[in-house]
Amino acid sequence: MHTKTIIELAQGLRAGDFSSVELTQTFLNRIKQYDTLNAYITVTEDLALQTAQAADLKLATGEANLLTGIPIAQKDIFCTQGVKTSCGSKMLDNFLAPYNATVIEKFNTAGAVMLGKLNMDEFAMGSSNENSYYGAVKNPWDLNAVPGGSSGGSAAAVAAGLAVCATGTDTGGSIRQPASHCGITGLKPTYGRVSRYGMIAYASSLDQGGPMTRSAEDAAIVLQAMAGFDPKDSTSVDCAVPDYLAGLNTSLQGLSIGLPKEFFGEGLAPDVAAVIEAAIKEYQKLGAIIKEISIPNLNLAIPAYYVIASAECSANLSRFDGVRFGYRCKDPVDLTDLYVRSRGEAFGKEVKRRILMGTYALSAGYYDAYYLKAQKVRRLIAEDFKRALQEVDVIMGPVAPSVAFGIGEKINNPIEMYLSDIYTIAINLAGLPAMSVPAGFAQHKPVGLHIIGNYFAEQRLLNIAHQYQKITDWHQKSPKGFE
């Protein structure tokens, strides 16, 4: 049951093959069975079974939609009323969110069944899920490897069949890189497509929530539920949401695919490059035309990103002060001591690094040299992509330069960890939508194909991914021991 698509499950629910309660129980059992993966921070078993009962009633009375009764898991960055929302941090270990994120409201309205909250790098800062207060998540394809990050719990849960689908958030690659490392489908929508209300902020001009699923078809259904204008998010874009499922079967005849030469240069592992090249050949069989393009300023994406993301993080995380919610240190002697120790005791190393970096970049005398400079570089990178997307319909390449690395391998070398985000980060700077689609294996670990589209071209991306998934079966593979 755990490998079925959403449409297959929805049909099974309607045909009476199984109830939502039974389906939910199957997943709750699997979550317990495979808890060594550490994919979940909180399992909301009672709430899930209650929601499933309500969903069965809706199904019986014909008031259901495709997601009614479908078990989903939420990244622990989305506020869920009355349920612990930790963001992977000791700071919020005691935080019961007093309201729902818009994304959570939308899934509740659809009647989806929340199984629990998924592990992640603390405040979404990391590329390996090793920065979680709740411990590292294991990659179901290789238990000694990282699942990627920051949405590592989401990727591991979907890959191991511990949820039908999940949500993730992507600030510099945090949906696409773990999706690539765990062999699932992940979509980072255009900035502003999915509401950020109630999604705990890391870098507000880059953060975007999106679906993490087994297939592009499932992603279309989940994105349909998530997307749309939200007056509660001042950066939400008021632009009509198309019917994503309806667009899946458009032909790819004549599709022009740009391959940026900067994506295939030094640093890309030859075994990953071979998988990507083979995937592109499949697209040629589907009628696509390949063109070499260039993103000349790509090499500056990482420096610009780490200035902008750190600066925004230092501002956003100043709200965690030990006064109104979250962790407070014991016996503070004065107000400064309360702030300094509460923050010092509750934030992990990577979060501290970025707060310090951002504070420095925004401090008097350095603002122009770092933050303003990074924003100018950001525009040049965005213009590189805009120019490229006038020449071609979509851009393809690798998601990550190598397959999933070992747990502990890069954790003591933050710069090396940052460099592994080279292909994903630039997309967030530009605000474009992009996907990771399972395209094969290297060293027995999954490799994702990166598909980048123009602003609000999510429907086209899903269509391009779906057509590939119709002629390949990489997205249907299950890791050994989790079948």
């Binding site: 005691n94 935080f95 007093p98 900035y191 502003g192 007056p231 001042s234 950066t235 874009v237 090499n299 500056l300 990482i302 420096p303 610009a304 780490y306 200035v307 230092s314 100043s318 002060d321 006064v323 109104r324 919610f325 979250g326 407070r328 002697v333 004065d334 001591d337 309360l338 702030y339 300094v340 120790r341 923050r343 010092g344 005791e345 190393k349 501290k352 690094r353 707060i355 310090l356 504070t359 420095y360 970049a361 401090s363 040299a369 770092y370 303003l372 400079k373 990074a374 924003q375 100018k376 570089v377 950001r378 525009r379 040049l380 965005a382 933050p414 710069i415 940052y418 605000g431 474009l432």
Partner: protein
């Protein structure tokens, strides 16, 4: 470009962020590494380029001035570390 231990202490103070004395050296090393990465940007001429703050170039949306939030202070303060009579309590600031 490299920072000193005293730079890191000063930044930590600005951020009101407690750092263990034993970790100062590691943070000094890591932050200097990050800065070395960032100075690569200075090689690129950005004269006359408008800074980009938002990918959609959106301005702030306006709405009519209406009350949209109801009073939920009891619910919000239920998760606060220390409250009394609807007030958040902190150590004494003025003697």
């Amino acid at each position: 470009m490299s920072l000193t231990a005293s730079d890191v202490k000063k930044i930590a103070h600005l951020a009101r962020l407690g750092i263990d004395e034993l970790d100062i050296e590691a943070y000094t090393h890591d932050l200097s590494g990050m800065l070395n990465l960032m100075v690569q940007m200075s090689d690129l001429n950005t004269d006359g380029i408008e800074p980009m703050a938002h990918p959609m170039e959106q301005g702030q949306r306006l709405r009519t001035d209406e009350v949209t939030e109801r009073d939920q202070h009891k619910q919000f303060q239920a998760i606060a570390p220390q409250v009394d009579s609807g007030l958040y309590l902190v150590p004494k600031v003025i003697e």
